[in-house]
Symmetry: C2
Subunit: 360 residues, 2 copies
């Protein structure tokens, strides 16, 4: 198979971790007879530095014409980086939002699970962890407050800012269908999260989720209020299989869920469009403080590449192989500094990549 | 002093826990020569059952004419209770939102801290807890998505729902001032939480917080994105002193923070208007599943009554006395079932109330 990838190395540790993911893809390609061709494009701070804007039309065109996008992480230190002196629409994050919208990446899939080997890194007590947890957050990614009309104006001399949270039933239905589809391949349980006791958009969300649920008699579901969900993630993460929610709630809850695993450096994510197209990136940020030191953990990005093989190219066997290689390296006791613990062998970013490649 | 209180016993465990708080107030009144007079009003499900609406104008008038409001908790099981078959504006929660707005309760103060005696109930590992944490969440309570224009309509046959998130600088300034004032009496650190990389309302929030901060040179502050804050609460709760944030973010983060203590049955809250007026209620909900069994924990409500003495009546000594009584009873090993652990003495709601009264 020939896979034509657009690659956004990004800012901070982005270039290091993406390089390792590309090397892993090449190893898989060699073993199974696939070719990955990479076209690098700039986005975020790296693009601002060269073009004065976070995503050019040319870069966007290349992404659109690719089969899938592999991405590192973007952005810098918001207090110290000059990128954050720019007007909002020229900052690194604006490039990401523009890309999501232009590519129609409405479904953000973020798994959050506990690696047996990394249990000790989990901030929750052993009694809360029990025999572990394994959930997927399905976050709507191109609607809601992120893409609503917004403005700031003076009303009788008083500065007033307005953002708009809007959803229509089609936007809700397509992400709900994705969530129920994924639940069907997992533990068959969806928890849809909203604030239906306050928001009209949440009440519509609830109604449409109930309509979609009718087509999935084998999947159980329930509704949960967002404030309660923020509590339940800490209190009893084991109750979750698939969490389905809107853009802003998903932003908050998926980060909370990642942190609860204690190993955010291990967590991948996929942002999918209709059809097979998707963008794949680690759940963590660009960690500018440790950039360029060869100590970043490339595993989240490598696992994102595995998700890409699975979702965009139907290469399940190849994806399994990458995931198994990661598990095997952990079982051998190798750790990057973020997941280091007593008695383990500390390795850098490149070395971790190489160890995973050696298992393939 | 004569204190004229409006009392909302509410739904579920509300009546039991409020009764104990009133008994504690009476005990303090007797000792220090204050009179508390109580006018009960209905709100939430209890009001729907009698009047067909969650808050009548008469009840609201009584609340307005009181010196402070003491409240239990409202609402029922959203899946099974008939209250949730009603149109949104007639459900229990609508009464609470109407009350908050009509009374101008713009500042919700929710302390979240770890009782030394209850460390084992905290879901976080001992290493994360360290020597404990003690924070206050200052949530703006009468603006944002909760009170913006909203509607649901068909646009070309497609159901579409819209909610509006609006803030003006005055709304932001007054809550920011409260937060910095409170920080000044504590560890002098404010973390203001927003989503300034996406929302206009958050960018205005940030700007106004920076203006207010200029008047508090003795208080340090920083900005934190809401998704990061949801992570940091789990990862390192010790870094927080005062968290300042808007309505919806505050709803989510304050519940997360409560759950992290592991003893939400102990956490009080105050919702303040300009001046001395306030409404005081526990942080937890109405727990309909355990209502009427005399097993609910009245401590959060009793501590809310203590907050009332402190904030609405400047009775600091009396508030201290209640808080000390609660600590003493815990130190004696008495626990309600929600905070029970090995070797402790299990007591019911009434008995817990009486034990606290006995210490006064
Ligand atoms: C960078 C930011 C705009 C983005 C978001 O909030 O969506 C990030 O936090 C994420 O979750 O991917
Ligand atoms: C009942 C509900 C409307 C309310 C809110 O979201 O404000 C509650 O969750 C709270 O936090 O007091």
């Amino acid at each position: 198979m020939n896979c034509n990838l657009a690659v956004i190395k990004g800012d901070g540790i982005g270039p290091e971790i993406v390089t390792e993911a590309m090397r892993v893809l090449d190893a898989v390609g060699e073993k199974y007879g696939h070719t990955f061709s990479y076209t690098q494009i700039l986005m975020g701070g790296a693009s601002i530095d060269v073009h004065g804007e976070p995503l050019t039309e040319e870069a966007l065109e290349i992404a659109k014409n690719s089969d899938a996008v592999l991405m590192g992480s973007i952005g810098g230190n918001t207090s110290t980086s000059p990128w954050y002196k720019l007007p909002a629409q020229l900052r690194p994050e604006a490039g990401l939002l523009k890309l999501r919208k232009a590519l129609g990446l409405f479904a953000n899939i973020r798994p959050a699970y506990l690696y047996d080997e990394l249990k000790k890194a989990c901030p929750l007590r052993d009694e809360v962890i029990g025999d572990g947890f394994d959930m997927v957050i399905m976050r709507e990614l191109t609607g809601g407050l992120y893409f609503g009309e917004r403005h700031t104006e003076e009303v009788n001399g008083v500065r007033t800012a307005v953002d708009t949270l809007s959803y229509n039933e089609n936007e809700i239905r397509r992400i709900a269908i994705k969530a129920f589809d994924i639940a069907r391949k997992r533990k068959k349980h969806v928890i849809s999260v909203d604030k239906a006791n306050v928001l009209d958009s949440s009440r519509l969300w609830r109604a449409v989720v109930e309509e979609v649920a009718k087509d999935y008699e084998d999947v159980t579901y329930e509704h949960m209020l967002v404030d309660n969900c923020a509590m339940q993630l800490v209190n009893n993460p084991r109750q979750f299989d698939v969490i389905l929610t809107e853009n802003m709630f998903g932003d908050i809850l998926s980060d909370e869920a990642s942190m609860i695993t204690g190993s955010i450096g291990m967590l991948s994510s996929a942002s999918l469009a209709e059809g097979k197209f998707g963008l794949y990136e680690p759940s963590h940020g660009s960690a500018p403080d440790i950039a360029g030191q060869d100590i970043a953990n490339p595993i989240a990005t490598i696992l994102s590449a595995a998700m890409m093989l699975r979702y965009s190219f139907d290469l399940d066997k190849e994806a399994d192989e990458i995931e198994a290689a990661v598990k095997a390296v952990l079982a051998d006791g190798y750790r990057t500094v973020d997941i280091m613990s007593d008695g383990m062998k500390k390795v850098g970013c490149k070395e971790m990549g190489q160890l995973i490649i050696d298992k393939i």
